[in-house]
């Protein structure tokens, strides 16, 4: 009802600005837990980097081969970001303006590649696009040459496969944040597609795209196995591979630290650019609502949308289908160690999700109360952190006090949490801001503070977002191979590690079945937490 009280042309955004809490204003929840959480994350990422650097003995610096790795990394990450986002625009638009049966399921499924373990995704992609993949097979039937997937374009295709879902979600978000009244007004004014673009869509995209591009750029910066395998050889050497080489081949911790700092610097630049863009409202909620529109009812517009939705569905679903086809035969005869590994992975994911909530909830509350720089710190560092460096740094730090194998699970969960944190914050912060703006004053007037405010206001009103963030974290954590082998404990192999072990022991069919199980668990965890959050929750 609050919106009704606004004057003609009232923008809402101006009102938000006015309602931003002043630093000295009383607050319903304290800021310091969020500050501690952000500092903890910063300490983990920077502390481990420092630990690696301090352990270095001499070591070489930044040579020509590192420079060419840097160049390739920048090129592939930029192209991947541009293509992921560029393709996501028409897909998101089509999804925003069409309603059809199964739309909600499709949007959920389209998110699947984002949480797929790398090796599984590579095999799925190659089953479709590879030299003997489905497409090459079809081409061969017409006497045509097979597809050539390996090369820079292969890297970009794979990265688009991973990140198109994320880009689509972010942009779809933007579309759905355009208030329904604007579409109504535009329809009133007989705005055609061009005017619609100019009036509504272009301004929204200008706001959303830089952030989406920067996030995907940052994700692709730390690509390694995908870039190498689909890049077709050492031409496709990324910084992360150079870091791996420094650890693995040369045992040059100094160079690893230098490279990691460069990677961190690049991500910071990208993230600062991204975070300059204002954060939208209500990420996660209402994603399954199509905006009612009165344009785009023409046949060509409909056809265009059908084509784009079809493209996205085929491009994202065919490799998943390949994973399913390859894994299904062995699923029922999986060896027992796979099931126990699955149980370990579920525990890690649960711990990771719990840690995430412990960190992300106070952090997002503090950000919503005006400490935006906290979010920038945590968001940047989570995206920039190289798992290899965190793992080694933690090892150096923990080794003197405890056996690494004994802390394998908590450490894996911790690192997975840090990796998922930037995404969780993007989901939680906007809603938290809304809730603070709408309820903080009333709560203070009623003298409701701290735990009571959490329990009676934040929890019920942010449940859908909390569920979404928790689901994403659980899924990412399940699919993650975990911190480098340094912490491996033979008795507590995670499921992704077990997939690699099966492949390493020639058991390809069982590995593919285990990969399918992993995929089912990831999607299941996401679905359970996401739906659980929305169950009986307000829209």
């Amino acid at each position: 009802m609050a919106a009704r009280a606004q004057p003609v042309g009232g923008t809402g955004r101006a009102a938000h600005r006015a309602a931003a809490p002043r630093p000295d204003a009383p607050r319903p929840v304290a800021i310091w837990p969020g500050t501690c959480a952000a500092l903890g994350v910063a300490l983990l990422v920077l502390g481990t980097l420092a630990a690696v650097a301090m352990r270095a003995e001499g070591g070489s610096g930044f040579g020509p081969s590192e420079a060419s790795a840097l160049r390739f990394t920048l090129i592939q990450a930029s192209l991947s970001a541009v293509f992921s986002v560029g393709l996501a625009i028409p897909v998101a638009r089509a999804l925003a303006r069409r309603r059809f049966a199964g739309r909600r399921v499709l949007i959920t499924l389209l998110g699947a590649p984002f949480i797929l373990p790398v090796i599984v995704a590579i095999l799925g992609l190659l089953a479709v696009f590879g030299r003997s993949g489905w497409i090459s097979g079809a081409l061969g039937a017409f006497g045509l040459d097979p597809l050539r997937i390996y090369g820079l374009h292969g890297v970009v295709i794979a990265h688009v496969f991973f990140n198109l879902p994320l880009a689509t979600r972010l942009i779809l978000q933007g579309w759905q944040e355009i208030p329904a009244e604007r579409f109504r007004l535009a329809a009133q004014l007989n705005a055609g597609p061009g005017a619609m673009w100019h009036l509504l869509e272009a301004p929204m995209l200008r706001r959303i795209l830089p952030g989406a591009m920067a996030v995907i750029f940052a994700i692709c910066l730390s690509s390694f196995a995908v870039a190498l395998t689909l890049g077709g050889g050492p031409k496709a050497t990324t910084l992360e591979l150079a870091i791996y080489q420094a650890f693995h081949f040369d045992f040059d911790l100094g160079r690893a630290a230098v490279l990691s700092t460069v990677q961190l610097g690049l991500t910071v630049v990208a993230a600062v650019l991204a975070l300059r863009v204002p954060v939208g409202e209500g990420v996660g909620a209402g994603l399954d609502r199509a905006v009612v529109r009165w344009d785009a009812t023409g046949r060509s517009a409909t056809l265009l949308d059908v084509v784009w939705i079809g493209f996205a569905t085929l491009f994202l679903m065919l490799p998943l289908l390949a994973v399913l086809v390859a894994g299904a035969p062995g699923l029922l005869s999986l060896p027992a160690p796979v099931w126990s590994a699955a149980w370990v992975s579920v525990q890690v994911a649960a711990l990771s999700t719990g840690l995430l909530l412990l960190v992300a909830l106070p952090l997002s509350a503090s950000i919503a109360l005006g400490r935006r720089q906290l979010g920038e710190i945590a968001g940047i560092l989570g995206l920039a952190a190289s798992p290899l460096v965190i793992g080694t740094g933690l090892f150096v730090l923990i080794y003197p006090v405890a056996s690494p194998a004994h802390v394998a699970l908590p450490v894996t969960a911790l690192v997975n949490m840090v990796m998922a944190l930037p995404f969780a914050l993007r989901i939680l912060v906007p809603r938290m801001q809304q809730v603070m703006q709408q309820n903080a004053r009333l709560a203070l007037a009623l003298n409701m503070r701290g735990p009571a405010f959490w329990r009676r206001v934040i929890w019920p009103r942010c449940r859908a977002q909390i569920g979404f963030a928790a689901g994403l974290t659980a899924a990412l954590s399940l699919g993650d191979l975990g911190v480098v082998a340094l912490f491996a404990d033979p008795e507590t192999a995670t499921l992704p590690l077990q997939v690699y072990r099966l492949m390493g022991a020639y058991r390809m069919e069982a590995a593919q079945a285990a990969a399918l199980l992993l995929f089912i668990l990831s999607m299941g965890a996401f679905w359970l937490l996401d739906r659980g959050g929305k169950f009986h929750a307000e829209a």
Binding site: L123, R131, H248, F249, L486, Q498
Partner: protein, 325 residues
């Protein structure tokens, strides 16, 4: 998060008690996996030693060495098992290893003289292909053919580095020309053996860099005779996998006992069908049916560890240059 994390560590640490002596063996991950030799070896050794044998897996051979370097003299490892001759020089240089005296009648193609590292298995690198396809007879023929191969990156993979050494050992200064010839045959380069072999099984390449013993897996475990290893007339580079004892071990006698056990029949008979490599000492029962015959000494290529270490960076540069065109 911190308190939870520390609590978890403490809780876990109290579980380990030291009633019986414990021998800690660091090895690569696939050795300890349920499908590797680890479980059977543990059972066999514990039946005789009156101790507990604890395997700790750490990635692959190179990761194993990195870990030992990180831990230094404080390592809780007594034995490191799983280095190969490309890594022994660097391992020796750490000064962390103690001399060992293992008595064995090795079935290696060459005499084994080493007072620090004792071998437990070995194999030949080879290109594996589908048995119904013709295979080239050497690197030159492979380079001229239009066969597609998938190999591993030497910077991240043991077989990948083995291939560099193979070409270097067989061709010396001509190695760059060989790589030039191979560059258009290489479909792609993967991070590790698993990815490469997976791509080959999925039909992405005609051949994959693996071992001469790989077809034996398919034959014995899957009763599938469709895979074969191409025999190259310039010979095959060897991978000899070794174990060593750490000088800082607090279980030196037990460690010696384990190393001696390692070359015994009980250990060696486990190797062929779990690690899919040749045992370092021929077990009483011989090799399982399906294992390829070993090659003569002159076809068994292996650079001395000093040469391998010295040539490594040069060989990598040549490889990078040829494949980055």
């Amino acid at each position: 998060m911190k308190p939870l994390f520390v609590a978890g560590a403490l809780l876990a640490a109290t579980v380990a008690t030291a009633e019986t002596p414990e021998l800690v063996v660091y090895t690569y991950d696939s050795f300890v996996s349920e499908w590797g030799p680890g479980p059977a070896v543990k059972e066999a050794f514990e039946a005789t030693c009156g101790c507990e044998l604890k395997f700790v897996g750490a990635g692959d051979g190179a990761a194993l060495l990195a870990r030992i370097k990180l831990e230094g003299a404080r390592s809780e490892a007594d034995i490191v098992l799983g280095l190969d001759t490309n890594l022994t020089a660097a391992a020796r240089d750490t000064g962390l290893f103690a001399p060992v005296a293992v008595e064995a009648d090795y079935a290696l193609p060459m005499a084994w003289q080493d007072d620090t590292f004792a071998p437990y298995d070995w194999g030949y690198f080879a290109f594996v292909h589908n048995a119904d396809a013709d295979a080239p007879a050497n690197f030159r023929a492979l380079g001229e053919s239009d066969a597609k191969i998938v190999i591993q990156d030497p910077r991240s993979s043991t077989p990948g580095l083995g291939l560099l050494m193979w070409v270097k050992a067989a061709y010396g200064d001509e190695a760059p020309a060989i790589w030039d010839g191979l560059s258009d045959n290489i479909v792609t380069v993967t991070k590790g053996w698993s990815e490469a072999y997976g791509l080959f099984l999925e039909g992405e390449a005609d051949m994959v860099l693996s071992y001469t013993t790989s077809p034996a897996y398919h034959l014995i475990a899957e009763e599938d005779d469709s895979k074969a290893a191409a025999v190259f007339d310039e010979g095959h580079y060897m991978q000899v996998e070794v174990a060593g004892k750490l000088a800082a071990s607090d279980q030196t006698e037990l460690a010696d006992q384990f190393l001696q056990f390692m070359v015994s029949d009980a250990f060696q008979s486990i190797i062929p069908t779990t690690n899919w490599m040749y045992p370092a000492v021929m077990p009483a029962g011989g090799l399982p049916e399906g294992f390829a015959e070993t090659l003569s000494a002159d076809k068994s290529l292996l650079l001395p560890e000093g040469d391998a270490a010295a040539l490594r960076d040069e060989a990598l540069d040549e490889w990078l240059r040829a494949l980055s065109q």
